[in-house]
């Protein structure tokens, strides 16, 4: 028992100090927020005229995108006709420009032809166009062709013979067997149809080229941030349609492709028309459409690897940019609150903590030494964890965060107060110090974990569901609370119990009370 306590005590002290020293040696310190340290700023201008409403949408999208890519608590706002993005912790202007390069528009373009577009006019690519196509395509089914399909999700993707991707309504159970029926009679129709004007050749991500018609919709048809990767049966991407206009636009397109109308012909016999999802002139995916009408949601299935599916989901998520934004020059910005605020809050905080320690020493006498060393261990742990987290995730400590940590000192001290008050009660009622310490800890631990668990739950929920500075707050609340629990169990417990047993405490006024020995 005694050996285990010593082990826990020493292991904690050594580990914490070693990690802290390692942090100091490598120069890892917590990142400071925009208000304390400044950062980089990029001004984005719309490529064409944009309404204020569009810019507000872009503001929210850029912020989401930045947070998703790991830049925490950016400050994004519309200023005049431009969008000002401020990034905490980013010192390199080039890095700042790359971080805000989120400006592409996602377009939905029907696939008109494979590998070539015969002119922009009404040039009929009649029989040749289609009859030729199957030839180069024939080998295609063997290789994982960039042909994705839009269909009902998992059950069908197994049934579809072609290793294509499909887009479908998630809830619908209808197997795609129903589709081939209209296929055959319609085939001749499309052969004589001229190519749509505005068609152009675009590369796919695998380097193939497809001829796609003009854009008939943008990524705005998708609900913002709704695309997810589903890996229940192979990787597939599910995305929700924005109700109303978005769904109408998408369904109009889907119906064309499903029926193989001239604007979206059947490029592979036996399959339906394909709809290309284009970002910055590159076809990200060109699934064939397996349903004429989609009800609220679409799933894209195919031979995706996990990273391909995630890329596609990200592209669909960012797809709702209503206007294209062009980044202007990047600048570094000075802290808004100023260096003196940080200094003032840190100095004030330290004075406050010193006052707390003086108060506790006066009140608890010798045993307050445990609080002093416990708080030191706690502070070192918080620093190390905060430094690690902010180097790994870009979460920065703002002025609110610094003061939040100062407030957390109070909650941490409470663990000791609850413990010691309990011990006082037990001793007053005639227990010896040695006997009282472990019993008191047992009851105290119950109290502490119940109360701290509420904070941890709060931190976890706020962190996973909110954005911006609320998220940063949750992160630091979680860190300080977990460190409190850690120090309480692995440091305070052995320290107090060992101290209570030691000869050192015998006869001393541990709590300002005469202790029976």
């Amino acid at each position: 028992m005694k050996r285990r306590l010593w082990l826990s005590l020493l292991a904690t002290i050594i580990t914490v100090i070693a990690i802290f020293a390692a942090n100091l040696a490598t120069g890892t310190t917590p990142l400071l927020g925009l208000d304390l340290q400044g950062g980089a700023s990029v001004i984005l201008e719309p490529a064409e005229d944009a309404s204020g409403e569009d810019l507000t949408v872009v503001r929210d999208l850029i912020r989401d995108e930045l947070e998703r890519s790991g830049i925490a608590e950016p400050n994004v706002r519309v200023q005049g006709d431009t969008i000002v993005v401020e990034l905490p912790g980013v010192k390199d202007q080039q890095a700042a420009l790359e971080a805000v390069d989120v400006s592409g528009i996602v377009e939905l373009r029907p696939v008109v032809n494979f590998s070539e577009c015969s002119g922009d006019g009404a040039a009929a690519t009649p029989l040749d166009g289609v009859s030729v196509d199957p030839a180069p395509v024939d080998p295609a089914p063997v290789d994982p062709a960039p042909v994705d399909t839009l269909g009902v999700p998992t059950p069908e993707s197994g049934e579809v013979p072609v290793p294509d991707d499909t887009v479908g309504r998630r809830s619908l159970r209808t197997p795609p067997d129903t589709i081939p029926v209209p296929d055959v009679p319609l085939l001749p129709d499309e052969l004589g149809i001229p190519l749509t004007p505005g068609a152009e050749l675009l590369p796919t991500r695998d380097g193939q080229v497809l001829c796609v018609g003009p854009a008939q919709g943008t990524g705005e048809v998708f609900e913002r941030q709704s695309a997810t990767v589903d890996n229940s049966l192979g990787f597939q991407v599910n995305v929700e349609l924005r109700s109303g206009e978005g769904e109408a636009t998408w369904n109009a397109l889907a119906t064309q492709c499903f029926n193989g109308t001239p604007t979206c012909p059947r490029t592979i016999p036996g399959s339906n028309g394909q709809l290309a999802i284009v970002l910055d002139g590159v076809i990200q995916s060109a699934p064939s459409v397996n349903q004429p009408v989609f009800d609220g949601a679409v799933s894209i299935t195919g031979n995706f690897t996990q990273s391909e599916a995630e890329d596609l989901a990200n592209i669909l998520n960012r797809g709702a940019f209503p206007v294209e934004m062009v980044a202007q020059e990047a600048q570094t910005i000075s802290p808004a609150a100023g260096q003196e605020s940080l200094r003032a809050s840190v100095i004030a905080g330290l004075i406050g903590v010193a006052l707390v320690l003086i108060f506790l020493l006066a009140y608890y006498r010798w045993i307050a030494l445990v609080i002093l060393s416990g708080l030191t261990i706690w502070a070192l742990t918080v620093f190390s964890v905060a430094a690690f987290v902010s180097s790994a995730t870009n979460y920065s400590l703002s002025l609110a965060g610094v003061t939040g940590i100062i407030v957390a000192v109070g909650v941490t001290v409470d663990s000791y107060v609850v413990f010691f008050e309990r011990m006082k009660d037990e001793i007053r009622n005639g227990r010896t110090l040695k006997n009282a310490a472990p019993r008191s800890f047992k009851m105290t631990w119950r109290t502490i974990w119940s109360a701290d668990l509420v904070s941890v739950i709060g931190a976890a929920i706020l962190f996973s569901l909110s954005v911006g500075s609320v998220r940063g707050f949750a992160l630091f609340l979680g860190i300080t609370t977990l460190c409190d629990l850690f120090v309480c169990y692995f440091f305070t417990r052995p320290a107090v119990i060992l101290l209570a047993r030691s000869k050192f405490m015998a006869g001393r006024k541990a709590f300002g009370l005469e202790v029976a020995s």
Binding site: V84, I406, E426, V454, I461
Partner: protein
């Protein structure tokens, strides 16, 4: 009843030794009245004048002034001060690039002619043409969807916490804890709306801190209530008494904890913003101070009486008056030890003999610590009722 010798003679002495006997439940109306005042004042003020939302929530106006040898952040601040624009609500930053540097100034919306005046003053101070000073409206950086997401997360959090407290303790404690939390947050929000302090993102963080602190404190107090409930289970102590005993036992802890939590905040308020002049900290620290005092106060004066009221209407009927005075003190002192309190005498306390049972209970309440510590001989087992 006279005080036994081991009880301290003075009030602070009794407080220090954990020998207080305040009838908190009997004074529950104080908490109720204060809570009603807080709710009425806060909602009236919110309805009449609302909150003074800052730049990050409402947007404002922005100037980009070319910076130079003679014009920097300090000079820009001076211009704003000359035009009677509050510095605390503004953001002044230096924006540097290879080509040209700017002082970027954001302030809350001012009237057009004043804005024009400020533009002219900036141009004059920086020694440039008026056309070189760019002026534009700037939107909020704290968008609607940040608020929406935060509110959604908060609602889910509160539901989960209510479930957690219901499992770990019981559902009535969940209600009482959430009510106390709402009370504290309303008090802090009330201070902001009544005095029209500017609400910044840091203020929102302060409110969240208060919320967490309030829940934390209430749970620490409730944990003692639950422990005492188990301790007195065999004596069938009325719930109001259990609450009263627990409150008196945790009183010293609550005072110590509030002192240790509030000292750093007071230091932030007076040393940080007062002496060192970090004005940004002032209102933030004030909100925290109000909220944290409220957090400790509400655990004892709002949450616990509410819990006792919720419980008193159910379950066991109180058959006698609440313990007060020296009886309560004896119970507070005696129960501060781990272990279970057994009813005294032989266990033949049948329901009808209320008088005797009460006498037993009083005895059980008076010397429980000795009873637990000295291990009295186990009474002969009788047939279970």
């Amino acid at each position: 009843m006279t005080r036994p010798d081991h009880i301290a003679a003075t009030g602070p002495g009794r407080l220090y030794r954990g020998q207080t006997a305040v009838d908190f439940y009997g004074h529950r109306r104080i908490g109720l009245v204060v809570a009603i005042i807080v709710v009425v004042v806060t909602f009236t003020s919110l309805f009449v004048q609302g909150l003074n939302l800052g730049l990050d929530f409402e947007g404002g106006q922005a100037w980009d002034v070319p910076a130079g040898e003679t014009f920097g952040v300090d000079e820009a601040e001076q211009v704003l001060r000359d035009n009677d624009v509050s510095i605390t609500g503004s953001k002044i930053q230096l924006r540097e690039a290879e080509s040209l540097s700017f002082v970027a100034v954001q302030v809350e919306v001012v009237p057009t002619d004043q804005a024009q005046q400020i533009t002219n003053d900036f141009a004059e101070a920086a020694g440039v043409e008026v056309e070189d000073v760019s002026f534009a409206f700037t939107s909020s950086s704290w968008g609607e969807d940040i608020t929406q997401k935060a509110v959604r997360a908060l609602v889910i959090f509160l539901i989960v916490v209510a479930i957690f407290i219901s499992i770990r303790f019981e559902w009535r404690m969940a209600i009482a804890a959430l009510a106390a939390m709402a009370h504290d947050v309303l008090l802090a929000v009330g201070a902001y709306t009544v005095f029209q302090f500017e609400v910044t993102p840091a203020t929102v963080i302060a409110f969240l801190t208060i919320l967490g602190y309030s829940l934390y404190d209430t749970i620490v107090v409730f944990d003692r209530v639950q422990e005492n409930e188990g301790k007195y289970a065999s004596v069938r102590m009325p719930y109001a008494d259990v609450v009263n005993i627990s409150m008196n036992q945790v009183l010293m802890r609550s005072i110590n904890t509030s002192i240790s939590s509030i000292l750093p905040v007071i230091s932030l308020l007076f040393v940080g913003s007062g002496l060192l002049g970090a004005v940004a900290l002032q209102e933030f620290a004030l909100a925290l101070l109000i909220g944290m005092i409220a957090g400790v106060y509400s655990s004892i004066f709002v949450a616990s009486p509410l819990l006792a009221t919720l419980r008193s209407n159910t379950g066991r009927k109180s058959r006698r008056e609440r313990l007060t005075g020296e009886d309560l003190r004896a119970a507070v002192v005696g129960a501060g030890v781990t272990g279970r309190i057994l009813s005294g005498g032989d266990e033949s306390d049948d329901e009808d003999d209320a008088e005797r049972v009460d006498a037993d209970k009083t005895a059980a309440v008076h010397q429980p610590a000795e009873r637990i510590l000295t291990h009295p001989p186990r009474p002969r087992k009788k047939k279970r009722r």
